[in-house]
Amino acid sequence: MNVERRMKKLKAKLLDIRIGPGAAILSSDVKKIHLEFARKINDGHFGARKVWRNYLPRLKYHNPAISMTINRTDDQEGPATLTIHFAPHSKSTSPTASPAPTSSTDPSTPPPDYNPSRRVETIDMKHKQDSEILSRLLELTKATPYEASPDELVELREVDDNKMRSDRDKKAQMRLNQIRKQEEALLAQAKGAGKLEGASL
């Protein structure tokens, strides 16, 4: 694929991960965020899924050290909760240690550096909008929003410009195709009529 086009798409995607709602740096004592909700959106699980799809990638990008896991249940009537695990920052863990992969589907596994003196906060996500859940989460974790750098703002403007231009071109091309189709239809009609006349003579 064309490198230019490929990079344009990639840049837009990465920019969307870096800035936007949910791009925030959480306080350092947050160790783990766990979401538990049902597979389908019936009965108030819509907000939870939106949080996962829209905001969690941004949170994960800006806080790579925080474990973020999800458990989706088949129980549609069950709860939709967001659990935040706090633990005081411990310096004892060696930076070279390679933690074993924890399961993302099992809510019971502790984060790699398990600390017993931890605090747990829970947000009920059922029947709530995604923005509502996010603001509650940011408030509980004392998050500082990520400020986009001037370079990123320039890039953002470029992405918007590209989108506008492509929309405009799309419309023009649609119009062109429409005209072409009409012309073709007219031509076909005229040809058909000519044949009929020839036959009758």
């Binding site: 490198v3 991960i17 990638p57 790579p64 973020m68 390679s98 992969p101 924890t102 009409q182």
Partner: protein, 296 residues
């Protein structure tokens, strides 16, 4: 004056013809000179000439990477982790695509290798050898899940096949052939045979090769291979990527002198993330500590 009046007409024809015309316009007989193919008069003349026969391209097009954004391994992994957040770690994998500068036909690179850190360890291997022997112990230590002779024959005949690969020791081959397993194992491609290298003397070595082994081959100028589980640390990934790229380079060097293949681009991706072109560095000044990148 005349030139001034003709200007707007010229300008109008230069602009996108469809953008200003109402769709109804076409119902009237079209007098204005509007070329359906959007070619100018000169272009048309050129197009109507008998075409020169184009020589077929023998190489894949490789675009210059001058304008490509490239990432260090840690930065690419950081983005990958963000895209993969909340996905079950067993289903998401890192994969590597190596783009080659190569001709379209000719020999394709194809090989298998053992990565330093195995990607898929869930493979179940059955070893047919005398139970309670030294060989069986070695096989179990190497990672075989089923070891035995008559017990396995009975299980297979019952129709319970709880393994993905089957290996047989040379000494047990005759016994296996007498047990008539071919009818059951053959259609599934599990029947050991000396031709495929699954009837061996070195059972332990074969088992080890099967467990961590991954196969790769060139398709349309690209070699793809899964190189890591989502929970791998950047160091583990670095070792795997190095091993894979090194092995491919060795394969390329082994090709005959007339065929020249080189690595053009290395792209790291994961199941739910876009591809990140790697620049060969391990980490950039802005990347987070490597320990953080393994946290799920």
């Amino acid at each position: 004056m005349a030139s001034r009046t003709s200007l707007p007409y010229l300008r109008a024809s230069l602009r996108h013809p469809a953008a200003q015309l109402p769709p109804l316009r076409v119902l009237a007989p079209s007098i204005t000179c509007r070329y359906a193919s959007r070619l100018s008069r000169g272009d048309r003349r050129e197009r109507d000439q008998p075409k020169k026969k184009k020589r077929a391209r023998t190489e894949f097009i490789n675009q210059s990477l001058k304008n490509a954004v490239q990432f260090s391994l840690c930065d690419a992994m950081r983005y990958n982790r963000a895209f993969e957040v909340g996905r079950p770690p067993t289903s998401s994998k890192y994969d590597l695509a190596i783009r080659l500068r190569t001709i379209k036909n000719g020999p394709a690179v194809r090989n298998r290798l053992r990565l330093p850190h195995a990607v898929d360890t869930s493979i179940r291997i059955c070893v047919i050898c005398p139970p309670d022997s030294a060989i069986s112990k070695q096989a179990i230590n190497a990672g075989a899940s089923l070891v035995g002779e008559d017990v396995i024959f009975d299980i297979v005949k019952e129709g319970r096949i709880e393994f993905d690969r089957c290996i047989c020791h040379v000494d047990s081959a005759q016994k296996m052939n007498q047990a008539n397993l071919g009818r059951i194992l053959g259609p599934r491609g599990l029947m050991p045979s000396a031709k495929l290298g699954t009837v061996t003397k070195d059972v332990a070595g074969t088992v080890k090769g099967l467990i961590g082994g991954s196969e790769y081959r060139e398709k349309l100028g690209v070699i793809r291979c899964a190189v890591g589980q989502l929970g791998f640390t950047p160091e583990e990934m670095q070792r795997n990527v190095k091993a894979f790229v090194g092995n491919v380079k060795k394969d390329l060097a082994l090709l005959s002198d007339r065929i020249n293949k080189e690595i053009h681009e290395v792209v790291l991706s994961s199941t739910n993330a876009p591809g990140f072109s790697l620049n060969g560095d391990f980490r950039s000044p802005t990347s987070p500590p490597t320990r953080d990148l393994a946290v799920l």
